[in-house]
């Protein structure tokens, strides 16, 4: 039904190359993560994660071809349908799933175990892109705003009920895409300021913070007295909100967050307070990465990641293996690969003629960026421990499949951009 020749001509090969580079490196590091020097198992063995990962990669390629072959218009026209199906699947999972480590997010289909929450990402990305291609964030239609908020928040709400807070947080990444589509930058700024105040409050005594903010504000107003006389109610309100936030952080941490979430916050602020308890993951992960040095210990030569010091080795903490065995060089190469991919996706998004295509492209970039931000951040102690995988690297079928689908739908749309033009 499609033209294979045009497909190969129009496919964005740099992205495909980056994809296979990352998946390939990921596969090797999954093997390194489960490798045990006194019991060497072939990298292809089905008994270990690397063997299984290869199967996931293989099936991922099949998925990818299917996605590219399917008429690209389907993604546009079927967006809401796919979204609706995913919502049902999420709800079904909530009912059917066996709890694994306190989370009800796994669906078992014969030999395959899938996490529908992973697939909700591309479905939601499709739906919100579709919505934005018809509505416009810049008009003052409040109803549209609420609809968008609803579309975005429904999946994470269900995922939260599955006790997969990490996967739910990912949906916050859509803000970046919305920002590109015209959302007020204030929302991003307020978000950033809130996070900054939250972290500063955990790090420093509250009274110091209040004093510093008050002094800074006073100095600024003294230099710009006219602004104060014109906008004093607004300034007073903001000042009051900031002070209020500072004093409500404790309440939020102690009363709103669950205990394991509190511990992850504490681990971020001071992992050394309880290195064998809540600080374990962060401490061990930093030790593993830190021991890698400049050039690393060499492939399969890691000691920390080999001997189970770092938990969730091949999945969420795969970056430790990279850091330990390939050192700073290897870590920076991986970071560079992500940045190249992200910048490439932004470029692809920008060259889309349809709002749907462009928004979807930014959604893909935002989701991958958020995963990268949080996953790498947590292994080096810059972000709280949130159980989300490193795209293309982490072991896991659901994760690999969902990122493959997410990325290749974009490539499918992109490969047909010239046809849209002629339409």
């Amino acid at each position: 039904m499609m033209r294979p020749k045009k497909l190969t001509q129009n496919l964005d090969w740099p992205t495909v190359l980056l994809y296979f580079l990352m998946v390939g490196l990921g596969w090797m590091n999954v093997y390194a993560a489960v490798y045990s020097p006194d019991h060497v198992i072939n990298i292809f063995s089905w008994d270990i994660n690397s063997g299984k990962q290869l199967a996931w990669i293989g099936t991922g390629v099949v998925l990818m071809i299917m996605i590219l072959v399917i008429d690209h218009k389907a993604y546009d026209s079927l967006a809401y349908l796919i979204y609706g199906f995913m919502i049902l699947l999420l709800l079904a999972t909530l009912v059917l799933a066996d709890p694994v480590k306190g989370s009800r997010s796994w669906l078992v289909l014969g030999p395959v175990r899938l996490q529908p929450a992973e697939f909700a990402k591309f479905a939601t990305a499709l739906a919100v892109s579709k919505f934005l291609s018809t509505a416009n964030l810049q008009n003052q239609n409040l109803q549209d705003h609420f609809k968008l908020v609803g579309l975005t928040l429904l999946p994470p709400l269900i995922i939260m009920m599955q006790n997969e807070t990490g996967s739910a947080l990912v949906f916050g990444a859509f803000l970046l895409a919305y920002f590109r589509e015209g959302m007020s930058p204030l929302i991003l700024i307020i978000g950033a300021v809130s996070v900054a105040i939250f972290i500063l409050t955990l790090l420093f005594p509250k009274l110091y913070l209040v004093a510093v903010i008050t002094v800074l504000l006073g100095l600024w107003l003294w230099a710009n007295q006219r602004i104060f006389f014109r906008k004093w109610p607004m300034i007073t309100l903001i000042y009051g909100l900031i002070i209020g936030m500072i004093f409500s952080v404790d309440f939020f941490v102690n009363n709103v967050l669950q205990e394991h979430q509190q511990n992850r916050i504490k681990a971020l602020i001071s992992p050394e307070a309880d290195p064998r308890g809540f600080g374990w993951n962060v401490t061990q992960s930093k030790i593993a990465i830190g021991s890698g040095g400049f050039t690393g210990k060499g492939f399969l030569e890691g000691t920390q990641t080999k001997f189970d010091f770092v938990p969730e080795q091949s999945t969420d903490f795969i970056f430790c293996t990279i850091g330990e065995e390939h050192g700073w060089i290897g870590s920076v190469v991986v970071i560079a690969l992500f940045i190249l991919l992200l910048l490439r996706i932004v470029k692809i998004a920008e060259r889309q003629k349809s709002v749907f295509g462009r928004t979807y492209g930014y959604c893909v970039a935002s989701i991958i960026f958020f995963h990268f931000l949080v996953n790498v951040g947590m292994t080096i102690g810059l972000a709280p421990v949130v159980g989300i995988p490193l795209p293309f690297f982490s072991y896991g079928g659901s994760s690999l499949w969902s990122f493959t689908i997410l990325l290749f739908i974009l490539l499918s749309i992109d490969s047909n951009r010239k046809m849209d033009l002629t339409r």
Partner: protein, 612 residues
């Protein structure tokens, strides 16, 4: 909406900013900060100490005194010991089912994955009988180690024992190289020669995972070092003589110390009651140690160097030597046996010279001798004169090794007591004491305390005519090692050689026809020179003492024998000493002296009349 397109730069800037921050943070923890590398090593690499073979100890004739005995511990790793055939196991190892369950529970409670001892200290025979069945029980394996072993039951006090290092010692920087749970010498030679015996520990690095499970050697053992066995020691002890001495002292309380005068080597070192050193080698250590510690005879008390007794009449020999050296008397000086001065319970010939005085151990003679020694008229003030006299006497006495540690190579040696001006100043006030306050020192009573070792050393001094080598119990480190240099130094007394002969004449008389008659060995051609003594005991019957050396010319053995609560030394200690001398010099006990052997073994020494 061109301005919205520019927002892509904001988004790209965010991406790049995060990448830059992460790269910098990674550079910091991976390249700049070294603490993570150290932590990683501690995490994954475990240092395993390889315990060396502890040095052996031989006696002077090459007989093994202390050896290492292999023992086998059956270890268990509960994780690997899944579903063992319990009944079969109990049959093979001959333990009741309840015990098996109990031990299994303990092992699991300790660790599911780490090895812990299941049955400890299996003997070689037990090990041999179970060895073939071991493969039936995965998760169980044998760990061989060594404990101290003895083929005899002798010399426990001198050999000492080894034990686990105490928490208090672990805090002490001196023991910083020891780790908790390690063994070290706690007393005796084991403690004194610890640095030689312990050997050098080896280190093996192995990699472990987060649960401490072995993951093979680190870098194929590149950094491992082998353990070096401890050095063997050659003791000065003559095991045969030692065993004979212990046999003779059986059922008695006291000490026997025999020294080779020409070298200071201790031939025999008996502390009675003794105990079997095998009692303190392991399995039952705690129980046995407690029992020994609690027994009323103070078995663990190391009498030859820790028990301080008044030297009694034997001290008269020292007094005579010092006074001759100072010219206070000559060998021919006589004093009347004036019993008004001090009691002399025996009627005897007039002590018209030193030889007679010593032979009869005449108390008034030595009262007068010592008075002249102390009050030499150096000052008109009798108090000051007494002080000058005592200080001078003190200088002499120190050269005999009294009132000071001789420096034997055993821990906890006691100094004993020698009266000094300082002591009497404290008792009576400065310069408010004179000879009459301490005249009993003249006959070896009063403020005097000497150890059996010091008395044996006195005999070595007299045998050598004026010098001694520090008594020691280890001749060399290593079988062919040189004698230890610190025991090669001659210590001269302040008394010239010529003054010894009269005293030796007298000691000859003591044995030949005096109070030490029971020690006579003339029939086997040995001239024994000796002196009896009675050490006053305020708590009960007096202690019997006999000191001697033999033969008179080229002496081979100097000996001190203490038998507590046995009264007069001539009856109990003298025959015992002579049996030791005979055994050492002739390797046997001659037929006519068997009755003395029986007499000593029977040990019914009724306290007889006191002799000073």
């Amino acid at each position: 909406m061109k301005y919205l397109e520019d927002r892509k730069y904001v988004i790209q800037a965010i991406f790049l900013a995060v990448a830059a921050v992460y790269a910098l943070k990674l550079f910091y923890i991976q390249v700049i900060d070294n603490s993570y590398k150290l932590a990683a090593e501690n995490n994954a690499i475990q240092k395993i100490i390889q315990y060396p073979f502890r040095g052996l100890i031989y006696d002077r004739d090459g007989r093994l005194l202390v050896q290492n005995m292999p023992v086998y511990d059956l270890m268990i790793v509960p994780k690997e010991a899944k579903n063992p055939d319990t009944l079969h196991f109990c049959k093979v190892f001959n333990i009741p089912l309840e015990e098996f369950r109990e031990k299994m529970k303990t092992a699991k409670a300790y660790s599911y994955v780490k090895p812990s001892p299941f049955l400890t200290r299996l003997s070689t025979q037990e090990f041999a009988s179970i060895q073939e069945y071991l493969s039936d029980f995965p998760g169980f394996y044998i760990n061989a180690r060594t404990v101290r072993g003895y083929t005899h039951q002798s010399l426990a006090h001198a050999l000492g024992y080894i034990g686990e290092i105490s928490p208090a010692k672990l805090e002490n920087p001196k023991y910083s190289k020891y780790l908790p749970g390690e063994y070290l010498g706690i007393s005796g030679i084991e403690s004194e020669y610890e640095q030689f015996l312990m050997g050098k520990r080896g280190v093996k690095y192995k990699m472990v995972n987060v649960r401490g499970i072995d993951k093979g050697p680190f870098r194929d053992g590149e950094y491992d070092t082998l353990s070096v066995a401890g050095q063997n020691l050659v003791s000065t002890i003559d095991l045969e003589l030692q065993q004979y001495g212990e046999k003779l002292m059986k059922g008695k309380i006291g000490s026997v110390v025999a020294i080779e005068p020409s070298t200071g080597e201790i031939l025999s070192y008996v502390s009675a009651p003794g105990y079997d050193p095998n009692l303190l080698t392991g399995k039952e250590f705690g129980k046995n140690y407690l029992a020994l510690q609690r027994d009323s005879l103070k078995t663990l008390f190391n009498r030859p160097i820790m028990a301080s007794y008044p030297p009694g009449s034997i001290f008269k020999l020292v007094q005579a030597l010092i006074s001759m050296q100072d010219g206070v008397i000559t060998a021919n000086t006589g004093f009347p046996c004036n019993q008004k001065l001090i009691k002399c319970s025996h009627g005897h010939e007039t002590p018209s010279n030193l030889r007679i005085a010593i032979k009869h151990s005449c108390n008034p003679y030595f009262y007068q001798l010592f008075r002249n020694q102390i009050n030499q008229g150096k000052s008109r003030n009798t108090f000051i004169d007494s002080r000058i006299g005592l200080d001078n006497w003190n200088k002499h006495i120190l050269t005999f090794g009294f009132g000071t540690k001789l420096g034997i190579d055993l821990p906890n040696e006691k100094k004993g007591i020698i009266p000094t001006s300082k002591l009497y100043d404290k008792y009576y006030g400065e310069n408010r004491w004179k000879y009459s306050n301490f005249y009993s020192v003249s006959i070896g009573q009063g403020e005097l305390g000497t150890t059996p070792l010091q008395m044996a050393n006195l005999m070595a001094i007299i045998a050598n005519r004026g010098f001694y080598f520090t008594p020691h119990i280890v001749r060399s480190v290593g079988e062919n090692g040189k004698p230890l240099p610190k025991y090669q130094v001659k210590h001269y007394t302040s008394v010239d050689q010529k003054h010894f002969e009269p005293v030796i004449d007298a000691m000859d008389d003591v044995v030949a026809k005096g109070t030490g008659f029971y020690a006579k060995l003339a029939h086997v051609g040995i001239t024994v020179c000796g002196k009896t003594g009675t050490s006053e005991n305020p708590h009960g019957d007096d202690h019997a003492v006999f000191v001697a050396f033999a033969p008179r010319e080229n002496p081979k053995i100097a000996i001190a024998v203490y038998v507590e609560n046995a009264g007069f030394g001539g009856v109990s200690a003298a025959p015992l000493a002579s049996l030791m001398i005979e055994k050492y010099l002739t390797d046997t006990i001659s037929a006519p002296r068997k009755r003395w052997e029986d007499w000593v073994l029977a040990g019914n020494f009724k306290p007889k009349k006191k002799k000073r």
